[in-house]
């Protein structure tokens, strides 16, 4: 089994910072789930969080992948709840028409114009967030982003004229 490593060694300070951030997050989960601040419980949680943080930091390092999120991408997520609610109505209406009138929904695969971008951590994160945001609402599910044609292939239960960002 081979392991992919980044071209240069990641600075120890950055890796230590990533480990610490994971430890804080996982320790928070422990406290939420355990609902106890007894010393023994906290020590056990600290040890478990340390081991899990080590794995969480080590795996992306081995895979030579990092996540880079821009704040404006998260701001665009504010519209997702409305989109999910609207799409839920669309798919339920399609089911209603299927049951009452026997109409097959006009479903199919489509390509939407989406810039593929580069293979930097920011580019990969952007594509992952695009696919996730396009797949969370019931009417559309993304199959992938085609590098050759700069398009996103999606399947829609009720094909509409919507466009990806």
């Amino acid at each position: 089994m081979t392991s992919r490593r980044p071209p240069g060694k990641a600075p120890f300070a950055r890796r230590a910072g990533a480990w610490l951030a994971w430890w804080v997050l996982l320790m928070s989960f422990w406290v939420i789930l355990d609902d106890s601040i007894a010393t023994d419980e906290l020590l056990a949680g600290a040890a478990a969080a340390a081991a899990a943080a080590f794995l969480a930091e080590r795996v992306p390092y081995q895979a030579a992948s990092r996540v880079r999120i821009r704040a404006r991408w998260l701001a665009q997520a504010l519209g997702l709840p409305g989109q999910v609610a609207g799409d839920t109505v669309i798919v339920f209406a399609a089911l209603w028409r299927r049951l009452v009138r026997g109409e097959e929904p006009p479903s199919g695969f489509r390509r939407l114009p989406v810039r593929y971008g580069d293979d930097t951590p920011g580019g990969r994160t952007r594509r992952a967030l695009l696919i996730g945001s396009k797949s969370i609402a019931p009417n559309s599910i993304a199959a992938g982003i085609d590098k050759d044609t700069d398009t996103m292939v999606i399947h829609q239960l009720v094909v509409n004229e919507g466009e990806a960002e």
Partner: protein, 130 residues
């Protein structure tokens, strides 16, 4: 019956209705592509409503905290699982997830817009990449 109880009951009724309708959709719809669209209400919409019902009933407690933590995993993982599923279904059927998709604005349905029936010859072979 308190106001909290009534609100929680309404939310629970809504979640149950969403799950029932989605389950019917999974049974009735024609193929895996169409059925998959009814998993999102079950995996994302209904759990959010259930988590709200728990929050209304219990307030901010350990119970609701754990429920929202679990919901976080569901909401984050669900769309990517749907993406992986439809991609796998496409590869399994066509050999390539990119084949046969119509361009935006090319109109609805049509032979390129519909996944080919398993028992019919593949009409999209000309669009397959590589």
């Amino acid at each position: 019956m308190t106001a909290h109880g009534i609100v929680a009951d309404v939310l629970l009724g809504l979640a149950a209705a969403v799950v029932l309708v989605s389950s019917a959709g999974i049974l009735i719809m024609r193929d895996a592509y169409q059925k998959l669209h009814y998993v999102a209400p079950v995996a994302v919409v209904a759990p959010v409503i259930v988590a709200l019902a728990v929050l209304v009933q219990s307030g901010w407690t350990e119970n609701s905290g754990e429920t929202w933590l679990a919901l976080l995993f569901m909401v984050i993982g669900g769309p990517f699982l749907a993406h992986a599923t439809i991609r796998a279904a496409r590869i399994r059927e066509e050999g390539d997830w990119r084949s046969g998709a119509a361009q935006s604005g090319a109109g609805r349905g049509g032979p390129q817009g519909r996944p080919p029936d398993r028992h019919q010859p593949d009409r999209d072979a000309g669009d397959r990449d590589g």
